[in-house]
């Protein structure tokens, strides 16, 4: 199966106002096969959002790409001009963000904002045709009464409906890849369930990338998962493999630290220390200062990825002997 998205040795620095540089993303490599759903999980500051923004080439001004490539359908996105990116965004790859309130323009109608996305990539279509497509989209994302709702403004929509609108805008031009960055985090659980269900139905045939801190969502909707910590990929593989047989101490810790409905103990496992900020990233394995199993070598050089089996690899010195 061909990969729709492939990151190869992607490195990114952040530069502050004084010109100091800090490495954020360290050698990010992963791929997303066509038609699959990939979850990227990690805590705040691990670089998962900036990874997804790199696909859209919407990086913040402080970001400096220092190496590697990002291939979408075999073409290197980092070599595209801004003009070419205009064509790619929305048509080949689209994104749904966390906060639908700040993503929708409060003074334009819902219908106008969805039609805008269609018009951008189909400039020759008639207004009537675009309106029909807008109505069909609203219908598809489960907004009742599309004919009436098309004239509404964002403040007349509830949080769940706004997120449905964002999804409608994202799928307006049937992009090959849809990226959802914490798309359900701001929603109530029952609404989150509705939106996840909608995304699963839309998924048929398309490729998805879910950026989330919620391990439960990844387990339910994704085929593959990449676990990030402080700008490094620590573990990756099929969801069943990684969640049932976590190999990296960080993944193990995360899964144990989560209170689940099945958990009946009185004390949760906790990972000592705090999530580091980019100024405090250490050399070698960045998880080493918090790791129970850290050896001297861990803080000296970065562990190479060890292949555990076809669907599972981990970057940790504990697994060096099983490296193929």
């Amino acid at each position: 199966m061909a990969d729709i998205l492939r990151f190869e040795n992607f490195r990114l620095d952040l530069q502050n106002d004084e010109g100091q540089r800090y490495n954020l993303l360290d050698d990010i490599s992963f791929s997303l096969p066509d038609g699959k759903a990939l979850g990227i999980v990690g805590e705040s500051g691990c670089g998962k959002s900036i990874t997804s923004l790199a696909v859209m080439r919407l990086l913040p001004a402080a970001a400096r790409v220092v190496g590697g490539s990002v291939y979408l359908k075999g073409e290197d996105l980092l070599k595209k001009t801004e003009q070419e990116m205009y064509q790619i965004r929305g048509r080949d790859v689209a994104m749904v963000f966390q906060d639908p309130v700040t993503c929708l323009n409060p003074v334009l109608t819902i219908g106008f904002q969805i039609a805008e996305a269609i018009r951008r990539h189909n400039p020759e279509d008639s207004d009537a045709a675009i309106k029909d497509r807008t109505l069909a989209l609203l219908n598809r994302v489960g907004i009742p009464n599309p004919e009436k709702r098309i004239k509404n403004y964002p403040h007349q929509f509830s949080g769940g409906m706004r997120q449905r609108t964002m999804i409608a805008m994202a799928i307006a031009c049937s992009p090959g890849l849809l990226i959802a960055d914490e798309a359900t985090t701001a929603l109530d659980v029952t609404i989150q369930a509705q939106v996840l269900d909608l995304m699963m139905r839309l998924k048929e045939g398309g490729s998805f990338m879910f950026i989330t801190h919620n391990l439960g969502i990844v387990a339910e909707v994704c085929d593959e998962v990449t676990v990030m910590y402080a700008g490094q990929i620590v573990e990756a593989g099929a969801v069943e493999e990684v969640f049932l047989h976590p190999a990296h101490p960080y993944t193990k810790g995360l899964l144990l630290a989560l209170p689940t409905l099945e958990f009946t103990g009185k004390k949760l496992y906790n990972i000592p220390g705090v999530v580091p900020t980019v100024q405090n990233f250490t050399t070698g394995c960045r998880y080493a200062p918090r790791c129970d199993y850290a050896k001297p070598v861990c803080s000296e050089s970065k562990p190479v990825r060890c292949v555990l089996n076809d669907n599972h690899n981990v970057a940790c010195y504990l697994y060096e002997e099983v490296r193929v």
Binding site: E43, T190, E220, E240, I271, V275
Partner: protein
């Protein structure tokens, strides 16, 4: 239940907000909290869950007398606290403390954390000298897992988890009996959330605390609570001992909430109950059950008759015409 074990008794507590700003037209009432009844047992943790708009934060503010109640009674250690004047309720400000959701917004960025924590001590004149206060603040910092030397630092020098620890220290410094945590761990990362949750449990033993733990996250509430109240549109839908709520789920809304939690175990493929539509506004409420517009079990009389709370098994209350104990079992 022995009476002296009840720290807080809430009876028919109601809060309606008038959201019509005009002076002359009829008031438009938003039913934020309606007819809440529960007993809070000393040394226990009461969990309150519900989605946004269910009235759980309003409930917390009512119990602390931060906003006046419309009607009802809140009895704290045998005394109804709602009619008390601000001066008379000074002792409540010592005994009850609150920890808020946003750890950054609850500390003044320009005040050293030691001074933030010491502020209530000065206000209530609990100590006379600076040294005594400093000693007390330092002890509290150590109890929540920070260092005594940190008193001179400013909030920006701390991470989110540490901020929340400072907020906990500030709550504890008054030696309270009751701490209300309003979404206190919601903004924390998983690994830090686990640290803070463990800290809550540990401090409960150490200081003989009683908690009211408000959250939208059922798994977190289940971990810390002895009893759980499920709220929807200002009403209590179900109240049960924490374990029983999940094994003997009685209310269709609770059942839907539980099924909506994404499970991190990929082998468990459960059937999800998808509720239709959104939480409606708490204005112009239906005369019948408030949940019936989204309920998958609703019958015709749910729309017309308002269900009362029923005790279906000891300490397990539910507000539904049709629920029986244990509808949540087996699926």
């Amino acid at each position: 239940m022995m009476d002296e074990n009840v720290l807080l008794r809430v009876r028919a507590l109601t809060k309606h907000f008038n959201i019509n700003n005009s002076w002359f037209s009829k008031p438009l009432l938003l039913h934020a909290v309606d007819d809440m009844n529960f007993d809070l047992i000393r040394g226990q943790t009461l969990g309150v869950v519900g989605e946004s708009g269910s009235g759980k934060s309003t409930l917390a503010r009512l119990l602390l007398k931060l906003i006046p109640a419309t009607s009802g009674e809140v009895t704290y250690r045998g005394q109804n606290i709602l009619p008390l004047k601000e001066r008379q309720s000074n002792f409540l400000r010592r005994d009850m403390q609150m920890i808020f959701q946003d750890p950054y917004a609850s500390l003044d960025p320009r005040i050293r954390i030691g001074d933030s924590i010491a502020e209530p001590l000065w206000e209530h004149k609990l100590y006379r000298t600076k040294d005594e206060v400093l000693e007390r603040v330092g002890t509290m910092l150590e109890r929540v897992g920070l260092q005594r030397e940190m008193v001179h630092r400013f909030p920006h020098e701390f991470s989110g988890g540490q901020h929340q620890r400072i907020n906990i220290a500030r709550a504890l410094v008054m030696n309270p009996r009751l701490i209300i945590c309003d979404e206190a761990v919601s903004s924390l990362d998983v690994s830090v959330q686990a640290q803070v949750l463990n800290l809550f449990n540990q401090l409960k033993e150490e200081f003989d605390l009683t908690y009211i733990f408000i959250s939208h996250d059922l798994s977190v509430v289940k971990f810390v609570s002895d009893t759980i109240i499920v709220m929807y549109l200002g009403e209590m839908m179900e109240q049960a001992p924490a374990g029983e709520l999940f094994t003997e789920t009685a209310h269709p809304y609770t059942k839907a909430l539980i099924s909506a939690i994404p499970n991190p175990n990929p082998t468990v493929k459960k059937k999800r109950i998808l509720l239709e539509g959104d939480i409606p506004g708490a204005v112009n409420l239906p005369s019948g059950c408030r949940f019936c517009s989204r309920c998958y079990m609703a019958q015709s009389d749910c729309e017309s008759t308002h269900p009362e709370l029923r005790e279906i098994s000891p300490d397990h209350w539910v507000r539904c015409h049709y629920s029986k104990a244990g509808i949540g079992r087996g699926d």
